[in-house]
Subunit: 347 residues, 2 copies
Amino acid sequence: MPNIKMIARKAGVSISTVSRVMNGSKPVSPELQKRVYDAVQQMNYKPNSIARSLILKKTNLIGVVVPDVSNSFHAQLLSGIEEITAQADYGVMICNVYRNMKQQQKYFNLMLERHVDGIILLHENTIEELKEFQKMTTTPLVLASVPLEVSGIPFVGIDEIGAAYDAVSHLIEKGHKEIGLIYGDCTALGILRKEGYERAMSDHGLSIKKEYLTQCPCSVAYGYQAMEQLLSSGSQPTAVFCVSDEMAVGAMDCAYDKGLRVPEDISFIGFDDIEISQVVRPRLTTIHQPIKEIGKEAARLLIEMIEKKSRSVKTTGFDRSSGCEQASSKEESRIILKHSLVERETV
Amino acid sequence: MPNIKMIARKAGVSISTVSRVMNGSKPVSPELQKRVYDAVQQMNYKPNSIARSLILKKTNLIGVVVPDVSNSFHAQLLSGIEEITAQADYGVMICNVYRNMKQQQKYFNLMLERHVDGIILLHENTIEELKEFQKMTTTPLVLASVPLEVSGIPFVGIDEIGAAYDAVSHLIEKGHKEIGLIYGDCTALGILRKEGYERAMSDHGLSIKKEYLTQCPCSVAYGYQAMEQLLSSGSQPTAVFCVSDEMAVGAMDCAYDKGLRVPEDISFIGFDDIEISQVVRPRLTTIHQPIKEIGKEAARLLIEMIEKKSRSVKTTGFDRSSGCEQASSKEESRIILKHSLVERETV
DNA sequence: CTGTTAGCGCATTCAA
DNA sequence: TTGAATGCGCTAACAG
């Protein structure tokens, strides 16, 4: 690969001139410009972004911490993120933590070493971890789909409680009173959605039976197990709200194996509206999240933060610092996208 | 973020000493070592990998070109890749080309600018494109799951023809003679799998009716359309081999809507064994590919190529070059993993 | 064993 | 407008 020096020599100019025409940073006479362009063309020159990063202190790379890329939900988020970052000329580095908290620290370090310009977290972190990370660095961070409240770290997602509320309300409107819940095991998401369930039940004057509440990790297999447990608890709900589509699919599978018919004998409602929910039979009624859009919005926000930051760094101490630097940061700290109910065949 | 200079000053040593203890590249007295470690600890120093990359000419980054991250098959490949690269301390940058050939060139340039150490392609390229890219650079390349024959570019995947052959043979063994095919539209994969279909048919003395062959892009929706077309062609096959699970699911959906029962009235067999195939009802019989394993193997191979290359660069012209440099490269150029038939409920 | 020095490829001051 | 010189943070000769 040719470098700037070789181009300069070939074009018969100094390296600064080459740099200037490449970046358009200062005027260069048409003549020299042409000579440089020609040399660039002939030698197929591409500026070394490593060297640029070093000097500009900007990598144009963002990191995405994801629990599991092979999970459909996260893969879609990633796809949204990638779409926006690519447009803005950022690369994305993925960090798959396999739902493993230990990896987390390792990856944060990795990203700091690599000097990513910003990070999007799709992963359930504890608030403490996030605060600690905040202390370590000024790297912009945004949470996508993980509604943790940490000041200074914006969130992009939906109204989790409201969405869960809507799901359960739908069940209630359809006449169900005995409603079970399969929810995630000590995650912020699970807890929020459970909260929505509880509010909906109590707002409609329905009581919650403890044996209708089951916890399990988010997967088809665990959903199956959870449903087994639910059914073995004696009394039988007429509907079940599952906190994710995977769980719902597993739970339906179980119901099917027990000879229950959906939705005749028992209804199900899921959450997320990932591809799977359109494909199972009967098709799963669920809460739709604009997943890809969340990814896009998160990426947009992050990039905005990055560019604002680098601008403010450059301007620090100059006359232009008119005191309005952190004006709009407040209102952007929570971007809530709209969810919706998708009625299909399981209620 | 502190840099090497600050650590050196704090520890009261030279920057080379700091560098040496960080990399263990040369012996350092225990005393200085401790002083350095303490300084590193206190200041939370992390070497700037950008600067290291610049001088070492190694980014420890690999690029993965993927048609669509949100697609389950590719997401799984990616997950396999990530697992191995993370272990070997490589980062992975994703390049989502959205099945769009134009993006391709842009991404290749991007990766060259960023000086990734190697590239894994999950994308259907033309052989010409690959050859051209080979000319442009010496960056190691490996194809995963895309069986294109280009000398110097290794491939990791399964025996596509053989797997398709097995799928169709299974149908035949079950007594089917009228077998339809839904296959991909001018992709290497589609063509290879069609080839397997044809061989299986002719080996078993079955004739292929033209109206049983339908092309469509790979997705549930297109699978549905293709099936519609197939059914409207007059005579009706008793079984259909779909070149991907998505197509199969769509096709089954269509059969269902037409009042056909699976597998009583018509059988289906898919290909890939992605998650969806275990979840549809009836569960899809299909050809299992060790998807994640393919990703892992591709990553292993790529890293091996990278390290071999950087070693050979360093050794060039030295006494150690005993002539065996490219000995084993031949036999590694095609890694074929085993596929298998997963009998479920659609045949 | 340790420190000094010279770049890696580039952007950017400072003079001209 | 242009070029020479400086340095981003680091590694690797080179000399002690």
